[in-house]
């Protein structure tokens, strides 16, 4: 059976930790880093459940800073 799987890459230093992607993601893939901050002092967004990503790109769309690149591929699972 094949399924659409996605993956995101966050530009950590562009991220301002606004959480809009965290809340927008329908699969709850993203959270703000617990114990790390980026060079500007922001807790950046990161995929904590990357396997759940479906590549819908909603996170990328709502991100005000264009931090998130989204990839999508049909895979056999």
């Amino acid at each position: 059976m094949s399924k659409i799987k996605g993956a995101i890459v966050v530009d950590v230093d562009r991220c301002k930790g606004c959480s809009l992607c965290v809340v927008a993601c329908p699969e709850e893939v993203i959270a703000l880093a617990q114990k790390n901050v980026n060079v500007h002092g922001y807790r950046y967004a990161e995929p904590i459940h990357p396997d759940d990503c479906i590549g819908c790109a909603i996170c990328g769309m709502v991100c005000p800073d264009g931090c998130i690149s989204v990839y999508k591929k049909r895979m056999e699972v």
Binding site: C18, P47, D51, M61, V62, G66, V70, Y71
Partner: protein, 256 residues
């Protein structure tokens, strides 16, 4: 598994090409960034990267010219529609738009806004309405809601003292020179898609000589409103959409 997926041929979304790598000065969660992306995408989709001139406002977006790699003119507060009028009339085959906040467009710039729209200048005015003056620290705007607290109406906007929120977009929809007047938002993916379509329609209408367009984006200012970005979206949905209802107020463009 991620490594298999993360590969150039699988890319479905990324920061638009016209948006450069300069980190934007906007506050975390600010609607400006989302709208900037849409403007960048539409210009590229229309293949007008080399023929576009943007006019930036006085307001948080004064530095819009740092982030989108097109030619820009910085206008005096409120004067962008006049600046754009001249550029478009003198270079009619260029795509010319202004990008303005609520103070710029509906307060000090009211005359320039109304007259450029009424003359039917072939430009698009992108109007970011977040009901507050963000850049200068959170003062009342002409679109601030009744009861909304800002630094110059700390007890809430009182119509007896401050008058009523200004529905300039409704005024614009009554001007004969306008061909497309719409109100959008960018807090959810469907809204973002709608907003992008609206910007595309407006830009296209201006290139087809159909007249002036006003695209209002009801937006958030979490810093000025003193809430988190996520809370700001909620507050906007609950309070602003009733005073500033979304949708097309006028569309005579004939463009799908």
């Amino acid at each position: 598994m991620s490594n298999e997926i993360i590969s150039p041929e699988n890319l479905v979304y990324t920061k638009p090409k016209l948006m450069n790598d300069t980190i934007m000065h906007y506050c975390p969660g600010c609607s400006h960034g989302v709208v900037h992306k849409l403007v960048a995408e539409v210009i590229a989709d229309m293949q007008m990267e080399e023929k576009t001139i943007g006019v930036s406002p006085v307001g948080c977006a004064v530095f819009a010219y740092r982030y989108l790699d097109i030619d820009w003119q910085e206008a005096a507060h409120g004067r962008a529609p006049a600046v754009a009028t001249a550029i478009k009339r003198l270079w009619p085959d260029r795509l010319v738009f202004t990008y303005q906040g609520d103070g710029d467009l509906a307060c000090i710039g009211t005359a320039e806004t109304i007259h450029a729209l009424n003359r039917g200048e072939n430009i698009t005015i992108v109007f970011i309405n977040n009901a507050i003056y963000g850049m200068t620290g959170g003062q009342m705007a002409p679109t601030t809601l009744i009861g909304q607290k800002t630094s110059t109406c700390p007890y809430g906007r009182d119509p007896e003292i401050h008058g009523y929120p200004l529905n300039i977009t409704e005024l614009a929809s009554n001007l004969q020179g306008t061909c497309y007047v719409t109100r959008q938002s960018v807090e959810t993916a469907p809204a973002i898609r709608q907003a992008k379509k609206a910007i595309r329609k407006a830009f296209t209408a201006s290139m087809e000589g159909k007249g002036s367009s006003l695209v209002e984006i009801v937006s958030t200012c979490n810093s000025g409103w003193k809430v988190s970005p996520v809370e700001a979206n909620k507050w906007m949905e609950e309070n602003m959409f009733t005073v500033y209802p979304k949708g097309d107020l006028k569309d005579t463009t004939g463009i799908k």
